[in-house]
């Protein structure tokens, strides 16, 4: 046995040999970014359930790219070139999941659930089972705030086109303003799958930053007098109304925009299981076990798309900036309509609940509650803010449905 030759072979095949290549340096940078994301998730608790998975997926995929052969190595966990062939109309493997299953790595196979829209829809099933639409039923005007808070989606879409992104890419970037992770992932996988990594990371990071971003805008756009408004208690909603609601919304919204069917259908099915009172086992499963399982797969497979050679470019920087713009303008949209409702109602509506129209449930509603209580300790805005908050979920699904209808 030639020891020297064996050592040479081991050295050339080991991942460390790839450090010196150009893509190897990009992968190294991505590994450092994954460490930073892990720090944000674990230490700073920024959406840890997803961010830790995304960061570790990012780490795995970039480490595996140091293997000899890089991305196309048989040992690589994720193969972007397989997905390029999957999306290429001229390729013999166009839309061939079989090709992915036969040749893909672990993360390719998990990513099929993202690409097919399975994971975001299943997450919506769990979200529906966890959401109480009672505050929205008690005060249907909340829907206007949910609609207003989609302003950032369309402004960022316009901004992205101005910056040179294609319509499909701009739509995927704009939806970050909806502050709804599963919807952003769902739309991006359909319109601009190559941007999934930066869009998902931007969406979840900004959602985690809501308590830091929104209060400044809330204080800037509202007066002390407006923030002090104490709202009267909402009416009690009957059980029958809560049962009929998901059925009505599913029929109405899906008929309006058929492309929203997977998201709205799952959201409302989950809610019906919660409210109907005879499927407690199912409601419990989708809220807990299923939600956790899907979160595991979703996080790691979204992280897998952050391959250094494709992630580190100016487009990513543009997405991060446009995403923040989208998010801020969505908050502004909700607050402005909140102020309008304050005027029209003769000072009975606290405009702070408008910012909860972005659909990050329940964090945005909690921020409204905290800011309201800072202005007036007797203020309890949480249940009032939950109305626009859940309306925002429906609003962002409609916005995504519209963009999908236009660009698909």
């Amino acid at each position: 046995m030639d020891i020297l030759e064996t050592l040479k072979t081991l050295a050339s095949e080991s991942g460390f040999a790839g450090f010196l290549s150009i893509d190897g340096i990009k992968n190294l940078v991505m590994i450092l970014i994954s460490f930073f994301l892990l720090y944000l998730g674990i230490k700073r608790k920024f959406e840890p359930l997803l961010l830790v998975g995304i960061a570790f997926g990012c780490l795995l995929v970039n480490v595996s790219n140091f293997f000899s052969g890089g991305e196309s190595s048989a040992e690589a966990l994720y193969h972007p070139e397989l997905w390029d062939a999957f999306l290429d109309h001229n390729s013999e493997f166009y839309h061939s999941y079989g090709h992915i299953m036969a040749n893909g790595g672990l993360l390719d196979i998990l990513y099929i659930g993202v690409k097919s829209g399975l994971y975001p829809s299943l997450i919506f099933l769990g979200v529906g089972a966890m959401t109480d639409f009672g505050p929205l039923l008690a005060n249907p005007k909340s829907l206007l705030l949910g609609a207003a808070a989609q302003m950032g989606v369309f402004l960022a879409f316009f901004g992205a086109v101005c910056l040179g992104f294609t319509g499909e890419e701009a739509a995927s970037i704009g939806i970050i303003g909806g502050a709804d992770g599963p919807t952003a992932i769902f739309l991006t996988t359909r319109l601009a799958p190559h941007l999934l990594g930066p869009i998902a990371i931007a969406a979840y990071s900004y959602m985690a930053l809501i308590p830091m971003i929104q209060p400044r805008l809330m204080n800037l756009l509202t007066t002390e007098k407006e923030r002090k408004v104490v709202m009267t208690q909402n009416r009690t909603v009957s059980k029958t109304e809560k049962i009929i609601f998901p059925i009505v919304v599913a029929v109405f919204v899906i008929l309006l925009l058929p492309s929203t069917a997977p998201l709205i259908g799952c959201l409302m099915l989950g809610n019906l299981w919660k409210e109907c009172g005879v499927t407690e086992r199912l409601s419990d499963t989708v809220q807990n076990a299923l939600m956790n399982i899907v979160t595991v797969f979703l996080g790691i497979s979204v992280g897998a798309t952050t391959v250094g050679s494709r992630f580190l470019n100016w487009q990513t920087v543009g997405i991060i900036i446009l995403g923040l713009t989208a998010f801020c303008f969505s908050t502004v949209g909700g607050l402005l309509v909140g102020k309008l409702m304050y005027k029209l109602s003769g000072g009975k509506i606290n405009p702070l609940i408008g910012s909860a129209g972005v659909s990050a449930v329940p964090m945005a509603a909690r921020v409204s509650q905290i800011e309201g209580q800072k202005a007036n300790p007797k203020n309890f805005l949480l249940m009032h803010a939950m109305g626009p908050n859940v309306a925002g979920v429906i609003g962002s699904a409609i916005a995504a449905g519209f963009l999908l209808a236009v660009f698909k």
């Binding site: 039923l137 369309f154 316009f158 009416r235 009957s238 009929i244 009505v248 429906i394 609003g395 409609i398």
Partner: protein, 110 residues
Amino acid sequence: MNIGDAAITAVFGYAVVFAGLLMLMAVLYCMGAFFKSKEAKSADEKSKNPVQTETKPEPAIEKPVAKGSAGRIKLYDVPDKEAAMIMAIVADTMKKPINELHFISIKEVK
């Protein structure tokens, strides 16, 4: 896509979201009005025709007292849960085990 088309798409898209949610709002108002009127009707009927059923008071069945119990407690306008909490607080404040205390009655002072 050119900038003009993008502007039109953005405005139209925002309008579609508003229109969709406005229509949904109208549907929810109709639903709410229907249920409110139904509730009002049943409340009216109840007040017009109070249910008059003569029921003989059931003879109180004395349940056996649990082993180790310090007897029964009389509650006046106090739910069981609150009574249990009050008893726990009293025991804690007096630093005495609850099974060594005998509560005779708890009454809400209005």
